[in-house]
Amino acid sequence: MAAIQDDLSMNLEAGGVAPDVRPDTPVKDPVQWMKENLFSSVGNALLTGVFVAVLGGLLWWFVGLVFKDSNDWDAVATNIRLLFSFNYPAEQYIRVWFSLGMLLGAVSLTAAFFDINPSMSVRKLGINASGLGATSLIVGVLPATPSGARIVFLIIGALFLAAGVGTLQAVDEPHKKFVSFPTMLLTFGLSVVAFAWLVPIGRNEFANGAVIDEGGFANPSTKIPWTIMMAILVGVYFLARAVKPMLPVKPVQTFLITFWVAGPAFLIFLVLRDPTFDYDRVLKVDIPWAIGFAVVGGAILYWLTKPMLGEIGRLVAVALLGVAVLNWVAAFFGWWSMLQKTRVSFLVLALFALAAPTFAGEKSARVRYVGAWVAVVALGHWLITGINTTSTLDIAAPPFLGGFTISLVIFYYVMLVSFPLGAIMALARTSTLPIFRVMATVYIEFIRGIPLITVLFFFSSMVSLFLPNGMDLSELAAIFIGYTLFSAAYVAENIRGGLQSVRRGQFEASDALGLTTSQRTIFVVLPQALRVSIPNLVGQAIATFKETSLIFIVGAFDFLRVANVSIASQPDYLGQNLVGLLFVSAVYWVFAYSMSRASRSLETKLGVGSR
């Protein structure tokens, strides 16, 4: 199983043209291997020659590009903080570390509780290490490399090559032994810690004489946090593994999924933003409203989910909807005032009530439905309270995040919101109701026909025109809305592919069971459709992630702008665009590549396409 996830074997297996090296075959004599794979015929040898020349030339050129005389890598090293979190205040940085710690802990918990155990065969490890070592050695030998870096490359190259070859030689049957995930995690944590403590990075002063405390061997401002972060990553994993037998797995998994959906919003609004709560108001207004909605709404919903309730349930739901709509109409005409969040809560309650018959059933099902409602109320009210309180953070620009963080935040929200939107549109497009179908089709095809950049321009420069006087939307919110609407069309197309793959028999079976249309859609069709569309959706997510770089063009201070503009405008690093761009490429690449690898193994795990 694990071997299937092995990259090399994947290539060869999928390639189907070099069937002589199966993952299970033992390591061959290098000379023989080269004969088979590089010089099997005259043409093949010629090809090898050409590719040696091309690859060597490219590597030479690339090393020259990276170590160009005019490149000042200090520009990146000094500005690491600016690149990742822009102007988030240094004295509040503990919040960033806290958030990162939470995320890393959640990663570990997820790995432990969802049994994510990627492992690597020792053979693969050895080959990778020696490959890395060999490349490093070649870079060290190339004349383009500056003498200082040359030594480092040669040492690292020799070490890796020796370790890789040594492993391959020392271990019997390396293709049958595997390095386990905990070992890899531990190694990763230790190397990060070692890197933080041993590698001197950065400079200690800049333009106006102020000192930035980064780099050097002894400075604790990044080293200690990184050590703690790695301790969390590794420690939580082992702890979770230890306590796993004692805990019920299902609720923990539900909790983790909830965290991944709502956690980032919590971190952004309640941790990173540092809201000042007016506790008087929280106690007198916010909490009573939330409890009221949870209790009263819960009771109504519990009653509404009673099976065979009949007409009266629908009447109540419609009445609730009426009240909810009336609240908005009242706001429109100024009849009576009301907290905006109560209006929203009424509307959500009405929607829950309308959907209630779909979820009607035994007591446990009803309790679960009420539980979902209470969770939505709690989470929603909590977040609204957190969002609406003022921030105490002394941050230079109103978007309190910038750099890579804002790219990640935009990515997270766009995916989060465009997914349900896309699902609804996909359902509408495949529905039998012609107006819905036409509207969804027109929307999807329209959006898919135009470039993202025009959508972003439209929203960033024109959205204030479309709003009534006095209403305003911040630039970033406008960008987010535009990007979400754009992304939803693509998500819809991917889900539609899945929907179409659901067999007719499933529909007929659902009808035979007497399910209503919505029950059939929610419980039978969508789950199957989503499972089929997961690979495409992950591909879409990667594309969305990469295209967050486009918000650079509409003026947001994202990763790319900080690297390409902000840093290059500092007097010390005027014109250092190239290093910034190379760094940005590297970071984007690491993230996108990991996502695509993860999606590939997910595909294998789900067995999509093999069923």
Binding site: F206, N388, A397, P398, E475, A477, I481, N564, Q570, P571
Partner: protein
């Protein structure tokens, strides 16, 4: 059959009525609805309004405040209530405003933002810098996203009249110039007509783009004009040789030449008389004279202090000194500042925290090689244009 037909017709009629009601309702309530929404929200939530729209991405946390208060009175009240000044800057203009590695913003534009904050709030650090691109800056002022825009913006007739904003006193008299290579045969006295056939690069969305295009048309010369959002790329391409000539405000060219001219190459800035007038100064929302006075007199205070030679170091001496204008300005006597809605010591705070015009100039523009002497930015006694009305 007839019964069902009737029912269908009835349904159609109801629908059309509904549609009609919707459309007529929209007209009648265009303006009424927003006001009432705002009012209703104010009524029950004092702090920042539980507006649903602020939840979208979280950065609009205090925009609700801005809107609510701005409708009531001057921006001055809004700023005081908020406790910070939202100041729009470039964030990427050397010597004017750029972001440092620790996230702070430095430059003369940034310093004037701080000066206004010192005057209004007594604390030069109570500034939220909002980095804006050239294209979006004026929209930000008109929409009230920023209280003050200090983003080397040229004061022109069309901008002043057209887009919902007003201009304050000029803090830097700039002019568009061109930069070429001495190896291409340029000298400081070269004329613009000599750039015939050149690839000219400049930044997009600014007056410089229009200026050079118009000038080329007038002179009847043929140029290729490339525009970039970001002047770094312009300079990069000039260094690489993909651009033969770059053009922008003279101050930026001087800065770029000082910092980026490669060894063995000679860059030349010409013509001696700039091809355009680019007075750069503060920009604020239209028709708010209380706020306009605050910003204008903060600038004037730095200039008057400069005329008297009063800087950061000797401001206390000047407060106790015998120049009545200076004493009045620093709040020692009279009610000039309080009448404006500022604390009496507002300009004392400005000078003591930020210094006078000359100090700010030297600290930010001096390092890149810009000098006051002999330029339009010299004081009026020295033949320059920096002049302030009397404080009395």
């Amino acid at each position: 059959m007839t019964a069902t037909l009737k029912r269908r017709l009835a349904l159609l009629a109801v629908l059309s009525l509904f549609a009609a009601a919707c459309s007529s309702g929209d007209d009648a309530t265009d303006n009424a609805d927003t006001d009432s929404t705002e009012a209703s929200d104010d009524g029950d939530s004092g702090d920042s309004g539980d507006d649903g729209d602020s939840g979208d991405s979280g950065d609009s946390d205090d925009s609700g405040d801005t809107v609510d208060l701005a409708q009531g009175g001057s921006v001055l009240e809004t700023v005081k209530a908020r406790g910070t000044l939202n100041c729009g800057v470039s964030g990427a203009a050397v010597a004017f405003s750029f972001t440092q590695a620790d996230g702070s913003v430095t430059g003369i534009d940034a310093d004037y933002c701080r000066a206004v904050a010192a005057a209004v709030l007594g604390d030069a650090n109570a500034v939220n810098f909002v980095a804006l691109t050239a294209a979006e800056r004026f929209t930000a002022v008109a929409a009230g996203d920023v209280d003050l825009l200090m983003r080397n913006s040229t004061w022109t007739q069309s901008r002043d009249t057209d887009v919902g904003m007003d201009f304050g006193p000029t803090t830097y008299y700039d002019g568009q110039q061109l930069m070429g290579r001495a190896s291409d045969g340029f000298s400081g006295s070269s004329a613009v007509s000599e750039i015939d056939g050149a690839v000219v690069c400049t930044n997009a969305g600014t007056t410089t783009e229009t200026n050079i295009a118009e000038l080329a048309g007038t002179l009847g010369i043929n140029i290729t004009l490339n525009t970039f959002e970001d002047f770094n790329i312009v300079t990069e391409n000039f260094i690489a040789g993909s651009c033969d000539i770059i053009t922008t405000d003279g101050s930026a060219l001087v800065g770029r030449k000082a910092e980026q001219q490669p060894e063995g190459e000679e860059w030349v800035i010409f013509p001696a008389t700039p091809i355009s007038k680019e007075p750069l100064g503060p920009v604020y929302g239209q028709n708010d004279s209380i706020w306009a006075d605050v910003v204008n007199w903060t600038v004037y205070a730095t200039i008057i202090a400069d005329e008297y030679g009063v800087g950061k170091a000797d401001v206390d001496a000047a407060l106790a000194g015998d120049a009545p204008e200076m004493v009045r300005l620093l709040g020692g006597e009279g009610e000039l500042q309080t009448a404006m809605g500022l604390p009496a010591d507002a300009f004392y705070q400005v000078i003591s925290q930020m210094g006078n015009y000359s100090e700010m100039f030297e600290a930010n523009l001096g390092p890149v090689g810009l000098v006051r002497e002999g330029s339009a930015n010299a004081g009026w006694q020295d033949g320059g244009l920096i002049y302030a009305p009397p404080a009395r």
